[in-house]
Each structure stands twice: as structure tokens, then as C-alpha cells.
Symmetry: C2
């Protein structure tokens, strides 16, 4: 590119870890292509790092420890943030957006906790805010939700959006291992971090669920609105039980639109392990892959599948957004921001409708089934299937319900625990992907 | 919407068949939502039909038989074309675009044959041209290719983009039926049209392949550049042979980037039936579903899955585009059009690299395998596996090659036909989704 008239857009990169370095590599190795696609050269004008001095394989002259100063510097057009966490990233991005710099962020925690503040700053500064990399890595899912499907009515999103837990559950399913054993293996192989809390307790998936639900339902949903259960309580027995009924256990994020009794609409957003029929398209998503299954009135069923994490896949999503905001900048345009105009009520988990798989250790005597069935009936919960395994001291009763509110199902489980003929409630897990609600 | 200040964007709909009526229904039933998402009301100002007088369930006052007049009418802002075919659709759209009206089209044949003319007209008129519905129905695939992945380097696209042929091949695979029997069933069930030529001969898939390749490789690829073979020659024996080697037969569209001997790059684009390992994500795409598998340097493997045809799914894609062009219109902006800047050479099929599955009816005598192997070796084609089935008069030799140019593979098959010990070349089919090239 030797045209002396060429335009240049100057990029500030905040963060230079695995993803940041890959962003630098992609911008440098594809320089001519990116210039042709954008209509201007993308030039990295500065890279903010927490501590100087380390060799990161990038031009040391670009490094600075003053992220805020870099983000608002006059010569900067676009800011890429791959630092993560709420603060100080929020302050940097708010000030950059207010100063009119368009922002590309991979920060799911920040977007899920306080996306509204960023959106307001973007509006105030007339800048773009894109964050495809925050959900499901390289999989283009946010742009399809906020653009391709915005002439349709999305009714439900079911996603596998955390690679670590999907690796652990896939491994438990194929080897019969328990949770701790599978976690140890995932840690050894680099699929789980030294502190796996954010993944295995579902915090990471809940942040992504909030972002997906906000876009799908045009409603402000934050991480605090998401019912969250992790996978640490999933046992080898649960997985075996799922297998026996043709299911596999997955950590799902589910965002659903409901019609209320008064004719209005509401949404429920939740993350929890669930049994999923092996015939469901999400059931075969193995290892650390991610997939998002979308149901819409006109489009029907759609699925988006790919790598949900890793330096290169995440950087691919960042670069896609970077080209988009760069083109907008050159055109003097701004993407229409998503609007929470629908402002639907967020249903508490108790009102969410789901199905339960319940496994009970029971006394083997006449009338057990009748007593158990009566406990379900008292909560108005209808049983789909029930089967008894073993006899005598080893008798186990496995029941799967029809769809009911989570509150009614939870109350049923409480009532079962109180029954003298129930020695132990062995396992309780939700069942998804079956009957409609 | 009672705000007297509200803006209105007036839409001309060209065509009122299954998709057109569904577009009308979606615009009318989602009026408030669309107004909130666009920032203005979308109003259907006219509907062009070929013949008047029929009840189409739309306001008869909107109907006209003068499509061209409607498309260029002063009060029209946006034009939706769901007529199909090259002419007269091309003339209508060219004049509408030149007159500054943004166009949403579902016309794959026109886009694949002469997209360049439409792009030029759009540039001349400062208008947008969107056509997500032209490929894979409701599946958002064009927007991800032209936006989400434009910071990445796409190396290959493998798609199942024709529902009719996928239904027929899935049925042959599950029932063992021959092609004609499966076609009859598909026709009865409404999956195949009375004249199925465009589907079963691969014309429909070839048009979509050209559109996908153009966007993925930033190169102008037309339908004429696509090597095309249909599925009419696929036999029950081919399907059984695929099954025996853990494969299923699919009509694939494949667009690949190659590195040439001189270090430059080229692309090959082809549509043909192929054996695909059952472990490949595309292998489980059954019935009339579509899916597009994308491989990119940084993103890795991605898959997009959903309904490829039908009124509502296609209308969902049209509406998504309509909201996008409407927003651009309100913002006074125009989407950056795709650019064929890379202008890569189109490789002829003879240079494409693939693998062959070859089934031969041979004399059962000593030295047969040696003679056959020598025929492969003379063309420099390496054999991956070979197995002999049966003995005596029923002996069949099945060979699967490693990757080689299509020309070398075709020459090998010709040479095999000449061998006295080969009584018949029973089946020749390409094998995809395995080793890299």
C-alpha cells in the first residue's frame, strides 16, 4: 500500500494476553486484505499492558501502562479491549466512547453487568460499541441476533456457551468419570483454569446468557437477572441416569419468551445443567465446542456452531467487529444500537416452566408408587414416565415430569423428601429440549 | 403508533407467491416491533403481481401488474423482490437501484448470473443491495460472511444448500431406495417441484455456491464458473457403498481457496454428490434442512444450520435485510458493498483437488490388484484403501484414493475402463470431508 493519499485508522489495543497478541498478529499478517476491505489502513497505535518489561512479541515502542491515557488519546480512532473484568475496563471504555472512539470489546462480564452504561456513553459520543467476541468466541451469533433476525420474533435460545464445562460433561459422559476426576483432567489439558469457579459455577455462561437475552428480546437483562446453577453437583450417577433415558447432560443457557396470564409477555433466563435428548442438535456438541440453538416464529430452528474460546477464534470475532466499526467510521455512520424498547418483565426462576428428572431411593413395598404419585398430584405436577429399578433395599424409582413451573417442581421434591417411604432423593435434574411449553 | 411526527418508509413488493405473502404477513403482524426496531414505520405501498384478479389475501388496492412502474415510483423507498429468474427481474432492480431505492432480493439465479450489474446499479444510485434470502433460506450466512468474518481468511466452505436433494439423498440413505423412487416420494410430499431439474441437476446449488464463493473470497464468481453435477446418477449401490465405509452421500457445494505453484492464490467452486464421513458435522443434516460449514484461519470450523426453504423461513431472511436497509436509509448511510478486490483466478475442475471412491467389477484372478494399482500409479494417484468383495464372477474391487487433481483421477478412471480385467466401472464418486488438501 504505497498510495500517499491513503487513509489510516489508528487503533488502541487494551490488553496484550493470548487474544491481544493474536489481534496484533491478524492485523499485521492481513494488512493488505484489511486495507482493501475497510478502505483504509488499520494501524495499531498503542498497546496498554499492566506491567511493562516483558517480551510480548510486539513492538515495544507501542507499549504503555497508561490504558486510560491511550484510550482517550486524540490520535486514536478505535479502541479494542481484551482485558476483561468490570473495573477499570468500564471507566476506560466509557471515557473512550464519550470521546467518540468506537469500541470493540470481548468483555462479557462488563457487558452483562453494565452494558447500559456503555451504550449510553456510545450514544453520547456518537460512537459504535461492538462485542461479538464476548459470546461464543468465533461463532457469529450477536450480529445474526441483532441484524439478521430483527425482522422475526425469537421465542427461545438454548446455548452451550462455556467450553470448559462442556469438555468436563462430555468427558463424564464418555468415560463415566465423576465431576472431580473430569475437572482434574480438564485442568491438566488446559481446558480449565487453575481457579475454575467462573466456569464450573456457571458465572461465565450466565454473563453470556444475559447478553444473548438482551439482544434477542430487546430487553435489558443483566447477569443478576439470570438464574444460575453450576455443574459441581453433577454426579456420575446423574450422567448414567441421563444415558439410560437417551439423554446427555449439558450446561445450558436458556432464554425464553413467555406469554403471561394477562396476555403480556415476559422472559426467563437461566443457566443450569440439564438432561438433553441425544437426538437434539445440541447433544452432539462435544469437547470444548460451543453452539447456540435459536428458535424464531418465521425462521424456525437455527443452530450456530464453532469454537467458543481460544486466542485465534476470539481474535477472529474481534477483527470482524473492528472492520465493521472502521467502515462505519469512514462512512461517517454509526450502527443502529440495540434498543431495549420491549422492556419485558423478567420472570423469576420459580415461574420458569421446565421438566424434572427425579431419582428416589425407596422402600420396596406395595403402595410406594401410589404414595409418590400422590405427592406429585398435590402440586399439580403431571408425571410423564416412571420406572422402578431393582428390588428390596436397592429399589430406585425414577420419574420424569411433564412441563410445570419450577416452583411446583421444587415443592414436589420437598414433599417427596418428607415421605417416610422415600429413603433418599438421589438426583434431581431438569430435562430440556423435549416437549414445548 | 399514533405519533403524528412518525416517519414512514414505503416498500414495494415485487411478487406475491408463498414468500411474498409471508413477507406481507410478517410486516403487518409485527408492525409495532418493526417500527421500534427501525425507527420508522414500514408500509407496503404496492405489490406487483403477474396477473390481477386472484385473491391473495392481501389488500387488492395495493396490487398492480406494472412491476417496473412500481419499483421506480417516486414514493417508494425500498424494493423487495421475490419473483426470481433473470429477466425481467434484472431490469426492474437495476432501474430501482439507479433511482436510489434500496433492494432486498431473494433471487439466487440473478445474483449468481449477474450480481455485478446489480452492484454497479446500487453504487450508481447510492442504494443498498441485500440478498440473505437467496442462499440457505432463514440461515444467516451471507451477513456472517460479509461482516463477521471479514477480519479473517476463509479457506473453505462446504455446504448443503438444496433441501430437495438433501431430502432425496437422506431418504435413499435411510430406506435403501433408488433415486427415482426417492424423487417420487419427495414430489408427493411437496419437497420436489413438478419439474425438479433445477434442484436435482444442481443448478440451484450452483447458483448459491457462486454467491457464497464471491463473498468468501472477495472475487467475482458466477454460476458459469461453478463445476456442476446433479444427483440423478446416484444409485442405491453408491449409497450402500458409502454406508459400508462409514459415509453418507450428500450433494455438496464446495468453494476452496488454493495456493498455486507460483505462490498466488486461486479458488475452485463446485457442486457434486460426494461421500462424507458420518462423523462430519454436515453428515447429520437430514431431511430438507440446510447447513453451511465454514473453515477460516483464525476462527477455525464454524457451522450454520437451519431451514433452507419455505415461505416463512425465506421471509424471515427478507425481513432481516429489510430492517437493515431501512435503518441505513434513515441514517442516510449505505452499507459498504462487497468488493471483488482479491480477483482470484478461478481454477477449472480439472485442477481441483479431491478424492475418489471407485468400485470395479473385476475378473477374480491372480494379479488383478497389481494391474489396478499400476493404473493408479501411472497417473500418480495414491491409493488410500482398497478392498475386494466377493469372489469368482461377483468380485468387486473398491478403492479410495488420497487427494489428487480431478484430472488425474478422471484419467485414472478412463485407464481402468480400458483394462481387460476390469469388466465394469460400477461407481465413481468423490469423497469429501476427510484429509486436508
Amino acid at each position: 500500500m504505497t498510495d500517499p493519499e491513503k487513509k489510516t485508522l489508528r487503533v488502541a489495543l487494551l490488553g496484550c494476553g493470548t487474544v491481544g497478541r493474536e489481534v496484533v498478529r491478524l492485523i499485521e499478517s492481513q494488512s493488505d486484505d484489511l486495507t482493501a476491505r475497510v478502505g483504509a489502513e488499520l494501524q495499531i497505535a498503542g498497546i496498554a499492558v499492566r506491567r511493562g518489561g516483558r517480551d510480548r512479541g510486539v513492538d515495544p515502542a507501542l507499549l504503555t501502562t497508561d490504558a486510560h491515557g491511550l484510550a482517550v488519546r486524540d490520535d486514536i480512532d478505535l479502541v479494542v479491549e481484551v482485558v476483561g473484568g468490570i473495573e477499570p475496563a468500564r471507566s476506560w471504555l466509557v471515557d473512550a466512547l464519550k470521546a467518540g472512539k468506537s469500541v470493540v470489546s470481548a468483555n462479557k462480564a462488563l457487558l452483562a453487568e453494565d452494558g447500559a452504561t456503555l451504550q449510553e456513553a456510545a450514544a453520547a459520543g456518537g460512537a459504535d460499541l461492538y462485542y461479538e467476541a464476548a459470546v461464543a468466541g468465533a461463532i457469529p451469533i450477536l450480529r445474526p441476533l441483532r441484524e439478521s433476525l430483527h425482522g422475526d420474533r425469537i421465542t427461545r435460545i438454548t446455548g452451550i456457551v462455556n467450553g470448559t464445562t462442556n469438555y468436563i460433561l462430555s468427558s463424564m459422559d464418555s468415560t463415566g468419570a465423576g465431576f472431580n476426576e473430569a475437572l482434574d483432567e480438564a485442568t491438566e489439558l488446559g481446558y480449565a483454569e487453575a481457579d475454575p469457579t467462573a466456569d464450573v459455577e456457571g458465572f461465565d455462561a450466565a454473563a453470556k446468557a444475559a447478553i444473548l437475552a438482551s439482544l434477542a428480546f430487546h430487553t435489558r437483562v443483566t447477569a443478576a437477572d439470570v438464574h444460575r446453577e453450576g455443574i459441581t453437583e453433577v454426579t456420575a450417577a446423574d450422567v448414567a441416569s441421563a444415558r439410560a433415558m437417551g439423554c446427555t447432560v449439558k450446561l445450558l443457557c436458556i432464554a425464553e419468551r413467555h406469554t403471561d396470564a394477562d396476555g403480556g409477555e415476559s422472559v426467563s433466563v437461566r443457566v443450569h445443567p440439564a438432561m438433553l435428548p441425544r437426538t437434539h442438535p445440541l447433544a452432539s456438541v462435544g469437547d470444548a465446542f460451543n453452539a447456540v440453538f435459536v428458535e424464531a416464529d418465521a425462521a424456525g430452528q437455527l443452530m450456530f456452531y464453532g469454537r467458543g474460546a481460544g486466542g485465534a477464534p476470539t481474535a477472529s470475532a474481534v477483527l470482524g467487529d473492528l472492520v465493521a466499526v472502521a467502515r462505519n467510521r469512514l462512512a461517517g455512520a454509526r450502527a443502529t444500537p440495540e434498543s431495549p424498547y420491549a422492556d419485558l418483565r423478567i420472570r423469576p426462576m420459580a415461574e420458569a416452566r421446565t421438566r424434572y428428572h427425579i431419582s428416589l431411593d425407596v422402600s420396596d413395598k406395595a403402595g410406594v408408587l401410589a404414595e409418590v404419585a400422590a405427592a406429585f398430584a398435590r402440586q399439580d405436577v403431571s408425571i410423564s414416565t416412571v420406572r422402578q429399578e431393582g428390588r428390596g433395599d436397592d429399589a430406585t424409582l425414577v420419574a420424569v415430569t411433564h412441563t410445570a413451573t419450577d416452583a411446583a417442581l421444587a415443592a414436589t421434591v420437598e414433599a417427596l423428601r418428607e415421605l417416610p417411604i422415600v429413603r433418599n432423593v438421589v438426583s434431581v435434574m431438569r430435562v430440556e429440549g423435549g416437549e414445548s411449553k
